[in-house]
């Protein structure tokens, strides 16, 4: 490992107390000043999932035919996507929103995406539990394979780290980055098999969908929480995902490191 990357990662480890403190405050800040407080963090995604369910089951009169009850299929994929898309859009602007720390010269700004990743973890874990319960009610009790969700969560966090170091640092210089990210998040919702099945696509074109790293994670969540499929049975997808993720992470560390000295002049 090049020493530059090693230093980058060691610095982050040394800041773990600051990360924890900032994440705590960040979480508090999200519901500061609203009457329903912390409930909003959970309410909004729940309503969204509810609406999707109602629209597909009653609005279209026919829910997509899936291998499992639609509600289970939807929730297990949706919770992963919501975490992914939320972090991606929030971290893009994170340096600007913590601009006051840029003026503290010795502060490691690279920890800010981690702060966001951590602070959103609390509601995410709540939704994981919710998904497990929903699956259980529908006849899919938790099993040994459920624990795989932590592996997929880890995979998602690593991917998000790399992406957010790229987007948060470049966004300072080119505001268009945040626009692109919001488009990617919007389209990603439709282009990732969250409420539709990849099997509906002709086999010859399925590889295009699988290039999307979010596909690996969402399918993984579903496999762990419901279908009981071990991750090593997707050897090829796993290899593809980690190949892409390591590349993104490497790019992220380098881009962030090269742009960091210029932050003080722009923010």
């Amino acid at each position: 490992m090049p020493s530059r990357i090693k230093k980058f990662l060691i610095d982050i480890y040394l800041q773990r107390r600051v990360i924890y403190e900032l994440a705590k405050r960040d979480f508090q800040q999200q519901y500061m000043g609203s009457y329903l407080g912390v409930i909003w963090v959970f309410l909004q995604p729940l309503i969204f999932i509810g609406i999707l369910y109602v629209v597909f089951t009653f609005g279209f009169k026919s829910a997509p035919t899936t291998s499992m009850p639609f509600v289970v299929y939807l929730i297990s994929g949706m919770i992963a996507w919501m975490y992914f898309s939320n972090i991606l859009s929030v971290t893009t602007g994170v340096i600007v929103s913590y601009a006051f720390l840029v003026k503290k010269g010795d502060f490691r700004l690279s920890i800010l995406p981690i702060v966001k990743i951590l602070s959103a973890l609390v509601p995410h874990l709540f939704f994981v539990v919710l998904a497990i319960i929903t699956a259980w009610i529908n006849g899919y009790p938790p099993s040994f394979y459920t624990l795989q969700v932590f592996y997929y969560l880890f995979a998602m966090v690593v991917l998000l780290l790399g992406l957010s170091w790229i987007t948060s640092s470049t966004n300072i210089f080119v505001k268009d980055v945040s626009k692109v990210v919001s488009i990617v998040v919007q389209f990603g919702f439709w282009l990732t098999p969250i409420f539709w099945q990849i099997e509906k696509i002709p086999a010859a074109y399925q590889w295009i969908v699988k290039l999307n790293p979010a596909y690996y994670i969402i399918t993984g969540y579903r496999d762990s929480l419901v279908s009981r499929i071990p991750f090593w049975s997707h050897a090829w997808e796993t290899f593809l995902f980690w190949g892409m993720t390591v590349l993104i992470l490497y790019t992220g560390i380098n881009v962030f490191g090269r742009l960091r000295p210029h932050f003080g002049e722009v923010v």
Partner: protein
């Protein structure tokens, strides 16, 4: 303990001016290092070392590079060229409320800064009490920072920065918004830090505070370091530069003056009757000279060099005008060693001015001096004013023209301290 904590060697900082922000990104990521910018030098070739325990004042006009220099030292910015090494933890108060989150309450900000600076939880509780007390925020500590007045922000920021006990403290004009009481308290706190052998870099437009607190001061102008030396000297130079129309001339003169000071004052025969100062600075701007300054006793008119507390004296100044000037007057001020002005007088608008119509004329001006100065050494500055065109301008001036050594020769054994003695015990009754 004399070790260098900050060392700058030929440090320059130029801002890259881009025509659009995306040019900056293109340049930073360009694999072959193509240039997309124009350069603007904010700091030019500065070499500077700061020892542990020094209090370095930085003066200069707006845009002279003071803030950029501090940002470089606190590593908010990176130098464009040259080497910069800083040893020890730096805490910088760069701009008002910088480093503090406007959304958080005062208390949350304190906690946050504590954890960023690695202060253990149990030490924190103690510090928080101290910070709240020092910052005088009271109940406001539970309000978000954005609702604070600028004075409150400055107080909190200062209390925070000093209680975290940084090895190097950087203060960029932060005390100027606090009220006088808080400023005094802040100076006391700074003096305490200084006594603990910590290093302070201090930017201020308040000349008095630079003179009184700094051990050394540097003058920046246009990104260059023009001068480094005694705070009083530096501030004098700065004021000279600030008020003069011909800045180039001032700088040239100053460079000349670095050579042994050539005084134009021609004293009468008994030269040792006034104490000559090493720091004497004679500046002739127009065709007029200050020929002689003497201190005499009021009663007999004898020249003296040591003054007694409580006695009356005459300050006699002889001026020589080469040209005709209207409204000629002589202002003077007496300051202490730290450059704090104890008293001053300017008769410019008093009507007691001279309209000199001749060339080559001498005048004698006499001033009464009631010496209520406490025992110490003081310095006299004199300024000769006169009409140049439509304006009343300084014709020539002398800084530190004469040293006034004051002793307390009274036998009543009352201890008189401070700058001046105005209070006397006259009666004790039961």
């Amino acid at each position: 303990m004399k070790d260098t904590v900050i060392r700058l060697e030929n440090v320059s900082k130029y801002y890259k001016l881009y025509d659009s922000p995306k040019d900056r990104l293109k340049e930073a990521l360009h694999p072959f290092g193509k240039k997309y910018h124009r350069e603007f030098f904010a700091i030019k070739n500065i070499s500077l070392t700061v020892q542990r325990g020094e209090v370095l004042g930085i003066v200069g006009r707006n845009g002279s590079g003071k803030s950029t220099l501090l940002k470089l030292i606190s590593s908010v910015l990176v130098p464009s060229s040259g080497t910069l090494t800083v040893q020890g933890k730096v805490n910088a108060l760069l701009e008002l409320g910088s480093g503090l989150n406007p959304q958080f309450t005062g208390l949350q900000n304190i906690y946050l800064m504590g954890s960023i600076n690695g202060i253990a939880q149990h030490d924190m509780e103690e510090k928080i009490k101290e910070i709240i007390e020092f910052s005088e925020l009271g109940e406001f500590i539970h309000q978000p920072l954005k609702s604070y007045s600028s004075g409150m922000k400055a107080k909190l920021a200062f209390a925070l920065a000093t209680s975290i006990l940084p090895e190097i403290l950087i203060l960029d004009e932060v005390l100027s918004v606090g009220d006088a009481l808080f400023r005094r308290k802040s100076f006391a706190r700074m003096e305490q830090l200084i006594s603990e052998n910590r290093t302070v870099l201090f930017v201020s437009h308040n000349e008095e505070s630079v003179k009184s607190i700094c051990t050394r001061a540097i003058l920046l102008d246009g990104g260059e370091m023009l001068y480094s030396g005694e705070p009083a000297e530096t501030v004098n130079y700065y004021t000279e530069l600030l008020h003069s129309k011909n800045r180039k001339k001032v700088i040239e003169q100053k460079i000349l003056r670095k050579a042994p000071v050539q005084s134009n004052i021609e004293p009468e025969k008994n030269e040792e009757e006034v104490i000559q100062t090493k720091s004497k600075q004679y500046v002739k701007i127009h065709d007029a000279e200050i020929k002689d300054i003497s201190i005499r006793t009021k009663t007999r008119g004898d020249r003296v060099k040591v003054l007694m507390n409580g006695e009356e004296y005459i300050i006699r100044v002889i001026v020589f005008l080469e040209n005709a000037y209207d409204n000629v007057s002589l202002a003077m001020s007496i300051k202490n060693e730290k450059g704090i002005v104890v008293t001053g007088i300017s008769p410019r608008l008093s009507g007691k001015t001279v309209d000199n119509k001749k060339k080559q004329a001498s005048f004698v001006l006499e001033y009464n001096l009631t010496c209520c100065l406490c025992a110490s050494v003081y310095f006299l500055d004199v300024f000769l004013m006169g009409d140049v065109g439509a304006n009343n301008e300084v014709l020539c001036y002398v800084n530190d023209a004469v040293a006034l050594k004051v002793i307390d020769s009274r036998t009543d054994a009352q201890m008189r301290f401070g700058l001046v003695s105005l209070v006397e015990l006259v009666d004790v009754r039961s």
